[in-house]
């Protein structure tokens, strides 16, 4: 599932989550005020954005972000 929500009220637009994302999933909106989830499907569920967010504004779902084929 991956990164699901960025609380738009709590987000201060500091950009730390955008910077830290290994997969370039998050971006700042055009005015530079708030972060948003742009490339949802590429989230690797590493939780870095959630952990680094000083405002506790981000929620990452703990289950795998993308269904993998089963080996059997």
């Amino acid at each position: 599932m991956g990164v699901l929500r960025i609380d738009q009220e709590a987000c201060t637009g500091c950009g730390v989550c955008v910077q830290v994302c290994p997969m370039d999933v998050l971006r700042m909106d055009a005015s530079g005020d708030k972060a948003f989830i742009k490339y949802f499907r590429d989230c690797q569920s590493c939780f870095l954005c959630e952990v680094e967010c000083g405002e506790n504004a981000i929620y990452v779902n703990p289950y795998r972000e993308r269904r993998l084929p089963m080996p059997w």
Binding site: Q44, F47, Y63
Partner: protein
Amino acid sequence: MEWRDFHGLGKVTDTDVLVIGGGLAGAFAALKAKEEGAEKVVLVEKGRFGSTGCSAFAAGVVQPFLGEEDDFGTWFEASVKAADYLIDQDILRMYLDEAQLGIEEMDRWGVDFVKKDGKLERLQSRYADSSKPGIKTIMFKGGIQMMDVVTRRVAGMGVETVNRVMTTDLLVHGGRAVGAVGFDTTSGDFLIFRAKATVLATGGIAFKDGYHATKNLTGDGHAMAYRAGVELMSYEFMPQHIMTRDIDVLGFTMFVGLGARFVNSRGEDFMGEYDPRLRERTSLGKLALAITLEHEAGRGPIYLDMTHFSPEQVKRLSEVVPMFALIAERAGAMEGDSITERLEILPCTFGNISRGGGVRVLNERFETSLPGLYVAGPGTAAPRAGTALTESLVSGTRAGRFAAQHAKGAGIGEFAKEHVEALREWAFEPYTRKDGIEPDLVVTSLQETIIPSRILVILTEDKIRTALQEVERVKETELPRLFAYDPHYLRMADEARNMVQCAELWLRCAMVRQESRPDFGFWREDHPYVDNGDWLKWTAIRKEGEGYSIVMIPVPIERYRLKPEKRERANVEMFEIARRRGRHGRAAH
């Protein structure tokens, strides 16, 4: 950084040493190149230096040989025997001798190692016999803290970092590497790095399977090296790991170190059957094979059981693998200081990092078959010695240092405008199409081909042939229509092309090796034996025109310190054990 226009094709910058990849190996290569006197060092990272790649997500376990505490002979012999002698003993010696230096440096800079009475605390390795003193690991408080410290050090040394730039190809002129090209995944600018020496530190390929730590390992370095005519070695080896099915947690070495068990659907703690000596501590390849064989015998699903851990053990686990607690708790598998649920496990590929194939290392300077190109980290085809992190420290240090020395005697390379034009066209192809296939489909097609356990874990000639046909289909019907909406998707598209390339090379080499190699997770059911008579050799694959060639390189065993007593076949017992255990009715699930 200074950029100039290059014939209207893109922007160009010059550097003494170019490092491609921002994990621990790339960081050390960049640092050591600076220390060696390279004036300008540029590190290019497709994500963000410090948080992309395996190093940032390393569970806090690393396995360096410590000179004052450990016995060199024991470590050396354990590594050579684990690989059944298919190992470069010269490089192994360097890995053992020198990893400690990197650990000590990181300790001084502030990487948070676990200590007891001021000394690094040791833990019995997953991969060792607990009844004997031997191979031990040390612990630190996770990859993020480590990379935080290391990236600050790199910046402090004056290395110039370029983030969010996907390197797409090496620049080659007059038979030597003269830099690389790529594009900015935000702006889409085409960038040209002219370098006197180049270090590839891009890791391996893991097909975006299993672990978040390996989702960025799309074989970019291997594919670029291959396209540039560089030799890859041991590419048939694509070792496995174990993953939990529903959540993505790292830390197997810690889990097993603390006493985790694997149980089948009948509640049997079966690893003792497959490896009576090491049990759960056995190699990852054997674990993957054992759970596959149990599953095929109708005794799946298989679980990782840590519900018996004491509060102290859970605390230790949370300290060394901080993300485990967060994820497991949120998924309801852990409450406070106890683990409440067993976790279903599946085999997955961990990619060809650490024990797998990669760019061939020619000598102790970590040169490749292309002059001016060096290689570091798990993207090398070098022996497993400890963990990928220790290898990264040693190979990064050496590649960076020798690349800087090379740069001192070399001029900035020239190259033809047409060469850059062709590389630019290739890089942007999916972005210049008006419509087409999303990269995700190509990735899914590849995963559907290689994740089934009868390719991922157990190989036979028939299955390899079928998988190759499928890879060919993807190559012929999907890649020519690959489409990117924007520069971010272009990265995904170019990664997908690299993955298809690496899958093909893997399967072609796997077809050639007609034996099994337990330590590399290379299980040929049609050749279920280690054959040190005929197969004490490495494969090396390289591009030849539109085709490829594979040659065999004999292991120079006569001049090595350790030699096998007999050069003959030895059966892989795992298959026999599974046959003896027989089949049981499939458990309902």
